[in-house]
């Protein structure tokens, strides 16, 4: 790792201030950032840890019924405590491994927006709201391609608000080495319609499968997508799977997610 200054503020305000320095970088659970630093693929002048800020942690249900998760809440805590949204808790419980889940955070995952990460599928599939130190961003506006988000320099996610659906499920098909999603599909049925979000598959990062959403909104059954297919164009191709394979998995896993949602 390159050398850097390390700061561990205890309030959001102090964190924002610390991040205003040139080449400052926020550090949440660090489960992706620290390996990246070890490879010297990033060279921040200052790391600002967000894990000592109490107001960034915790899970609650808002008056409108939305599940609100503090950005620095660990995957393990979401898995254990997000009982109001079982599909989300189940998703959190499948990220990485137990030790990673004890450190990794929802805010860190969403800020990084790895194209194979799980949380982006949940956020987009739930139509979540990403709350930052300065504004609220709808999930549909937030994800802007691989590792790209709507966040500005120095902007900190403080909370993520998930409208709780009637039914939902996430099915993850693991890449055998990294155990990230080779493809993961999050399906959520709301009164206003069904949302289907896919991670791992596309070169553009997490995306919504509009045709499946339409079909499932009129008939929420695995068979409803029988006639649909996903094109291989724009799908990721690597030694773990061709674009065609990933496209195929999107459909298989969507059907399984619908079946699992019940």
């Amino acid at each position: 790792m390159y050398a850097f200054d390390f700061e561990r503020p205890t309030t959001i305000a102090d964190a924002v201030k610390a991040l205003s320095a040139e080449d400052a970088q926020a550090l949440s659970g660090g489960q992706t950032l620290i390996p990246t630093l070890k490879q010297r693929l990033a060279s921040p002048s200052r790391l600002v840890s967000l894990t000592a800020i109490p107001e960034l942690k915790g899970i609650c249900v808002a008056d409108d019924g939305a599940l609100c998760i503090g950005a620095a809440t660990s995957h393990a805590d979401v898995a254990a405590e997000a009982t109001a949204y079982p599909a989300l808790a189940a998703l959190a419980g499948q990220i990485g491994d137990p030790a990673v889940r004890n450190r990794g955070t929802i805010g860190g995952s969403l800020a990084n927006n790895d194209p194979s990460a799980c949380y982006p599928a949940a956020a987009l599939g739930s139509g979540a709201t990403i709350v930052t130190d300065r504004r609220k961003i709808a999930a549909d506006d937030y994800f802007q391609g691989m590792f790209e988000t709507a966040l500005d320099e120095g902007e900190i996610i403080t909370e993520v608000r998930f409208p709780v659906p009637e039914k939902a499920a996430y099915i993850k098909f693991e890449q055998p080495a990294s155990r990230f999603a080779l493809v993961g599909v999050f399906v959520a049925k709301y009164a206003g319609g069904v949302r289907v979000a896919v991670t791992g598959a596309s070169e553009d990062g997490v995306f919504r499968w509009a045709e499946a959403e339409a079909a499932l909104s009129s008939d929420f059954s695995a068979g409803a997508i029988d006639g649909l297919s996903v094109g291989a164009d724009g799908m990721i191709g690597d030694l773990h799977g061709t674009p065609e394979y990933r496209a195929h998995l999107v459909k298989v896993l969507t059907a399984r997610a619908v079946a699992a949602a019940g």
Binding site: F4, F6, R8, D97, A99, N102, R103
Partner: protein, 160 residues
């Protein structure tokens, strides 16, 4: 350099660290606790697992400064107070749950975390929990058996 203080295996310790000093470096190089190992640089092998405030974490993927004020337990702190092997350690020996010993500290720490959360895990739950601990020697068979045994369950998971 900044000063960091924490409790390691029940003993208060402190030392000067850089921002980039990882907890595992603080433990191995600063405290001479070389039982915690580094087997990869992508946070996957789990040879470095320790407990921080009671939770299993990869000590190669947390900065020493982040453990300020924390209670840290390493493999060196796992034996009984009289120095005898703890139940989990003893089960690993009894069931040949280790060979070269390099992944073993992380395995024991993960096993302890699992049994604290889930005192009677099934074989499938054990295998799932060990997702982040790679062993190249044992094929995991006897590690799983050792953890089952440590939980007080029947270890007849497979023919001898």
């Amino acid at each position: 350099m900044t000063k960091v203080s924490m409790t390691v295996n029940g003993k208060p310790v402190s030392g000067e660290v850089e921002g980039r000093t990882l907890l595992v470096q603080f433990l191995r190089e600063g405290q001479g606790l070389t039982g915690t190992h580094v087997g990869c640089d992508t946070s996957q092998c789990g040879a470095c697992v320790v407990h921080v405030d009671g939770k299993a974490v990869k000590s190669c993927t947390i900065f020493a400064a982040e453990a300020e004020g924390a209670e840290v337990t390493t493999i060196e702190g796992m034996a009984n107070p009289d120095g005898s092997l703890s139940t989990i350690q003893q089960a690993f020996q009894d069931h040949h749950g280790l060979q070269c010993g390099f992944c073993t500290p992380g395995m024991v720490m993960s096993a302890a975390a699992l049994l604290a959360e889930n005192p009677k895990p099934t074989e499938a739950e054990i295998r799932d929990y060990l997702e982040g601990n790679i062993c190249r020697c044992t094929g995991y068979h006897n590690i799983v058996k050792a953890i089952l045994a440590a939980s007080g369950q029947d270890v007849a998971v497979a023919a001898e």
